[in-house]
């Protein structure tokens, strides 16, 4: 699962030789994230976010396991045990704030990772499986984050759980029994809290497993790159280690600095004050809002205000919200342009930036109260979101005239290093949709 010129693992130390004979684990690591994995030499900083997402997952698991040692999954004590962690556990405040803000940073880097994939067409053949597994990770992350937010059993925990499980109640006929079954009762209660805790502990390890599949699937064709032109020979690649381990080390440093600024100096900035009030089923908060990373989807949910004949608006909103993510599974077959990188797709590029602005607007509206003009704005923005992926993108791929691609990765690097703009690329080179000599 690598290029023929990949370096081979030759253990020098007798202990490593002994291990490698019995269990070739060092070899596996060497070929996965060591010198044995040749990577395009022209990756930009957007290619750092995969490793950073892995780092964020590790931070979440470490802080989360420690938090679980001090947590009581019972509605009578949950809120108090979280407070006790903050006050009486050694560095408990650090674990708690790192975990809460770590979730936000996990989503920040994953959204940037998805942004990279969307712009550079990383989802296209031969990397469809990488994209699909990435979406599975994204869905698992959303489920995990949602259940994690319920655990402190504050007001937003309780009412968020009520609203989100209430979405299933919108399904005709079987909706309410499903909602009751999910919650283990008619409203969020002790049974819900216990199962959410159990699943919140389990799912990160499922995510870790899918991450392994994601990386495995990536290593079949090898990493994509900003030109979207496939690797043609040894001159196009560098070994992952030390070239990209060094670059990722720097990226991890920047990530940790930004994370620390938020964690140590504004740890509650991204949270909602209401979650410092213990859950009270008798008092509904003025505005029930999820965490910021769900806002774009929450805006789509709330944008459906008019019934479609016999289909109630609420059900439409639920369907649209799930479709907003699930439709991304079809993306590799909706965008049929053989050119991967947005840099060589002038029309795609314009609409892509409109999409980014559109998602930011949706996010803003999702965090705002459910009143005008935010609902009207989310309706327009939501309409564009669906139109972009389902209508505009297939049409662009059909009619767009892409710019000429560079002949190879090395050529594009040389051009950039020589006189800029002298000759951007060789004319008339088509894209190379075939998987290169990999496998």
């Amino acid at each position: 699962m690598s290029f023929p010129w990949a370096e081979h693992y030759t253990p020098k130390h007798p202990v490593m030789q002994w291990i490698d004979e019995k269990l070739p684990l060092p070899r596996l690591v060497y070929n996965a994230v060591g010198a044995g994995y040749p990577v395009p030499r022209n990756l930009n900083y957007f290619w750092n976010f995969g490793v950073l997402a892995g780092l964020a997952l590790v931070i979440q698991i470490v802080t989360g396991v420690i938090m679980a040692m001090h947590y009581g999954a019972n509605t009578l004590v949950a809120f108090g045990t979280v407070e006790q962690t903050m006050r009486d556990v050694n560095a408990g405040w650090l674990m708690r704030y790192a975990h809460a803000n770590g979730a936000s940073f996990f989503f920040i880097v994953v959204y940037l990772h998805i942004f990279r994939g969307l712009f550079y067409g990383s989802y296209k053949a031969p990397r469809e499986m990488v994209w699909l597994l990435g979406l599975v990770i994204f869905l698992l992350m959303m489920a995990t984050a949602f259940m994690g937010y319920v655990l402190p059993w504050g007001q937003m925990s309780y009412w968020g759980a009520k609203v989100i499980t209430g979405l299933f109640g919108a399904i005709p006929v079987v909706g309410e029994p499903i909602q009751t079954w999910l919650l283990g009762g008619f409203a969020p209660g002790n049974a819900s809290l216990n199962r959410f805790f159990s699943l919140h502990f389990l799912l990160p390890f499922v995510i870790a497993a899918v991450v392994i599949l994601h990386i495995w699937a990536l290593h079949i064709p090898g990493s994509s790159n900003p030109t979207g032109v496939e690797v043609k020979g040894p001159q196009d690649t560098v070994p992952f280690h030390p070239y990209y381990t060094a670059k990722d080390g720097f990226g991890a440093g920047v990530f940790l600095i930004l994370f620390s600024i938020l964690l140590f100096f504004a740890p509650n900035y991204l949270g909602h004050p209401d979650n410092y009030i213990e859950a009270n089923p008798l008092s509904t908060p003025a505005h029930i809002v999820p965490e910021w990373y769900f806002w774009p989807f929450y805006a789509i949910l709330r944008a459906f205000t008019v019934d479609f004949f016999f289909v109630p608006a609420k059900l439409l909103g639920v369907l649209a919200m799930f479709s907003a993510i699930l439709m991304l599974f079809f993306l590799p077959w909706l965008d049929t342009s053989p050119v991967r990188s947005g840099n060589y797709r002038p029309t795609f590029k314009k609409f892509f930036w409109i999409l980014i602005i559109d998602v930011l607007i949706l996010g803003y509206c999702g965090g705002a109260p459910a009143e005008e003009p935010y609902v009207m704005i989310s309706q327009i923005a939501g309409a564009y979101y669906f139109a972009h992926f389902l209508i505009i993108l297939p049409l662009i791929s059909r009619f767009e005239r892409p710019l000429p691609l560079p002949g190879s990765i090395t050529e594009s690097v040389l051009n950039r290093q020589n006189i800029k703009g002298e000759q951007d690329a060789l004319p008339g080179m088509g894209a190379d949709p075939q998987p290169s000599n990999a496998g």
Partner: protein
């Protein structure tokens, strides 16, 4: 097939959202949503400076002690502080003997079980105890307070936007209802038993003004106990109860970030060093 299906789904969702938009827009224009009294008269917390503002701010220990005194002599009659223990007061600068005395003399006693008879009883709190609650339960609290339950104050400054300033503004914000308000919203007259306060979310608050006169509390350190000063002090104290580790957090943060800046600079240099041949020769 995929593209035809996608096209239809996209057309449906986008189209129906645009129709919903038109329906909403027509309603918005023909019948603009009425302004609510909260929207018009609710105020954001006042601008107030605290010693712990900013990334390097620290608690002012004498101020925390004064704030604790206000809590003890005024607030604690109705409000609990259930996540704070007497032993935690060491962070305010009290020594062990002082904390023991504070606990022993606390007006509210700690519920306990008589070790001989097993009957419910009470005893003097000790430093290990959390601050005892003023009411046995929510029913008792509501009964004694015109049907409103005084909220626990441990986390109050984190449970409201701009919490420290909020507490200060709320305590100093009581006023009579503006004539303007009654003119535009005649139905919004403050009900009997409630008190108008523009810093409270729905403008009418069950709590009577807690600090009414200068000198309500006599400070041991000679600070003049104006209402403004007392409100500020108790807001500072409640900031400490909500985030007792604030100073540790900022200190740890500074050290972490300095370390990370150095580590990241080194990482950048090794990155440049490793790539030097590739960037140059190519």
């Amino acid at each position: 097939m995929v593209r035809i299906g996608a096209f239809l789904v996209g057309l449906f969702f986008a189209g129906w959202l645009l129709i919903s938009f038109l329906v909403g827009a027509v309603a918005y224009v023909s019948e603009p949503p009425a302004k609510t009294v909260e929207h018009e008269f609710h105020k954001h917390p006042k601008d107030v400076d605290f010693s712990f503002d900013g990334p390097f701010g620290k608690f002012d220990r004498p101020q925390l002690q004064r704030g604790f005194q206000v809590f003890k002599e005024v607030c604690s009659a109705c409000h609990s502080l259930k996540f704070v223990a007497f032993r935690d007061l060491a962070a305010l600068g009290y020594n062990e003997a002082e904390i023991k005395a504070i606990a022993k003399q606390w007006a509210i006693k700690t519920p306990d079980v008589d070790p001989k008879t097993g009957e419910m009883s009470t005893r003097d709190p000790v430093p290990a105890d959390y601050f005892p609650k003023p009411f046995a339960n929510n029913v008792a609290a509501a009964a004694a307070n015109n049907n409103a339950i005084p909220p626990d104050l441990s986390l109050m400054t984190k449970a409201r936007h701009d919490g420290s300033a909020y507490v200060y503004s709320l305590i100093t914000g009581y006023q009579s209802q503006p004539a303007e308000l009654l003119k535009h919203f005649p139905d919004a007259k403050t009900p009997e038993g409630l008190h108008y306060n523009p810093y409270f979310a729905n403008l009418n608050l069950a709590m009577a003004p807690p600090l009414t006169a200068d000198g309500q509390v006599t400070y041991g350190d000679g600070t003049k106990a104006t209402v403004d000063q007392m409100a500020k002090d108790v807001a500072a104290f409640l900031t400490w109860t909500a985030e007792p580790k604030l100073e540790n957090r900022r200190r740890a943060g500074l050290a972490t970030i300095v370390f990370l800046l150095i580590a990241t600079a080194l990482a950048y240099m090794s990155y440049q060093n490793i790539w030097a041949d590739k960037k140059k020769a190519a």
